[in-house]
Symmetry: C2
């Protein structure tokens, strides 16, 4: 501080007693200049607090240091949490993460991808909206920008996919529920992404394997306000003909959270006590599922592993400059989280 304002790299180089390209080299990699030079620059940096113009930098650079992160719905704490995780990892590696939410709208998702294209990111981590996504547009984007998909898969789009193994996690909780009480029925809403379909399919095969008839209940709802869908749908079912069995496995935790609220509204006791009227289980280990009443039995998705792997695959991709061999799909196993709702 204290020194006069520096307005560009040339001026800063002058006050450092160096040439501009040397300073430029330093900013691209402080270790690429000799220690003595680095010290002089860093001393001047303290004194004058100059910082390079990003726009001018990125104009000619081979690669910007930005990484795009796109999630379908940021008001869902699951995505907020995973985004937080990913952001942190990018920052630690010296990249510049930019976070975007599609807010559940396909048009916005495409808008975001178009904006991202202009930003020339070195890579993008994309959790697509799913069913409503414009496949062609996303495909075109992935052809231009190194992209790793996570959470929700789109067949053969992007360089890799990282998600949860629904075919493992659903049987896990189905087995548990069958072992500890009446067989579950499956509550779902119109599928927003492939996970919903995979979970239903996994439920059916798990039940058949155990010799039970799989029973599916679908409630209506076309928003991303899943709790509300679970609440209203649950209210309808419970007030009407009831669920096929008194154990309900929900397609995801947010539905389950709504269903628990509905049961409470109707003064039905939820849980595994003998005097309970209904057992409710979920899937995801949503950040709030510890705090429902009763706390929600569910299958934990491995947030940390998914974000860690997604970022790692993207970094490898960036280093290999997009040439990383065939597209890979990585699925992480879920862990049973036994709480009090089932």
């Amino acid at each position: 501080m204290g020194g006069a304002k520096i307005k560009n790299m040339q001026e800063f180089a002058s006050v450092s007693g160096l040439s501009r390209p040397t300073v430029s080299k330093y900013f691209n990699d402080p270790n690429s200049v000799r220690p003595k030079t680095r010290d002089r620059i860093e001393a001047a940096l303290v004194k004058y607090d100059y910082r390079p113009n990003i726009y001018a930098m990125n104009q000619n650079r081979r690669s910007t240091k930005t990484i795009g992160i796109v999630v379908p719905y940021l008001a869902d704490p699951f995505f907020a949490e995973i985004a937080r995780n990913i952001e942190r990892r990018c920052l630690d590696e010296g990249f510049w993460p930019l976070l975007f939410s599609s807010h559940g709208e396909a048009a916005l998702e495409i808008g975001i991808l178009n904006s991202l294209r202009s930003l020339k990111p070195v890579g993008v981590l994309l959790a697509p909206l799913g069913r409503r996504s414009d496949r062609r547009e996303i495909e075109a984007f992935c052809a231009d920008v190194p992209t790793v998909l996570f959470d929700s898969n789109i067949a053969s789009v992007g360089k890799a996919f990282i998600g949860s193994d629904n075919a493992q996690s659903i049987p896990l909780i189905v087995d548990y529920l069958c072992r500890t009480g009446t067989q579950p029925c499956f509550l779902e809403m119109p599928p927003v992404n492939p996970n919903a379909n995979k979970r239903r399919a996994a439920f059916i095969s798990a039940m058949e394997r155990l010799g039970h008839e799989p029973q599916i209940v679908r409630v209506d709802g076309k928003t991303w306000d899943f709790e509300q869908v679970g609440f209203e749908g649950g209210l309808d079912m419970l007030r009407g003909r009831g669920f096929p069995t008194d154990t309900v496995l929900c397609s995801n935790d947010r539905l389950a959270i709504g269903l628990i609220a509905a049961a409470h509204e109707l003064k039905m006791k939820v849980g595994r006590d003998s005097d309970a009227a209904i057992r409710i289980a979920g899937h995801d280990d949503h950040p709030f599922s510890r705090f429902t009443s009763p706390s929600l039995t569910t299958v934990a998705q491995d947030y940390a592993a998914i974000s860690r792997r997604s970022v790692k695959v993207l970094f490898d991709l960036i280093e290999a400059e997009g040439e990383i061999g065939p597209r890979t799909e990585t699925l992480f196993e879920g862990k049973l989280v036994m709480r009090n709702s089932a």
Copy 2:
């Protein structure tokens, strides 16, 4: 499509049969060229799909079209929701919103502001961390970039503040609670921001005005995992000497959500029925408070009004080029939301 790839504005101008500056003018404001010209450009645009290089654009432009949005903790659905709202409004006005979360860390908050400085945004909407924020750094930032504070105030920092009127909302729910049952005690955690202090003060004065002795309970906790703090603190209190009264007004909904879970854990019935053991109320109308069991009685912060006004004030500020008269503070009233927990 179909046409050869265009690599810069000069080439695009050529294929459009125009000069580059005319095209440049179009991109800055399509209405600033005559209709005939605009049509030619737009026809070429469809044919060649060219888009200007943002970095080159922003390098010389008087103002970038970017607006920074900084929230303290994006995994909190309250902030996710308000950020969603603000983003949308910025997009509608033709700006380019960029969203950042401080993740509860003061160092990251400063890091974000420094990055933002480089991005030369036309304006910033900042919800500071609060108590832990580095006041000096934020002050310095606000001196350089037109900034509107929201949610959490820092005295005389930024061009304006928009938030909730705790001095109105707390008495509102205190009155309600006193009128409908035993007087409330106040549950808080170590204050993370000025709102927490204002709410406590408002509670004390509201109680005194009604002729009751204000009783405050503080639980420990230094993370942003408020539900967990409410849960553990609540468990301690309920298992120990209990709360001073059987009505607990929590400093915010997330604490209340944790406390409800704690009460349920101890098989204490929560609510306003005659057989309930405890009444619990919150503050904020957090997106999840509709789905607790029982649903949470609370005071709704006016999300929409806060985001609308924040954005409007910022736009006015931008138009006035920072010269907007004295700093203003706008507080919106809360609305009582009667549900079943109190």
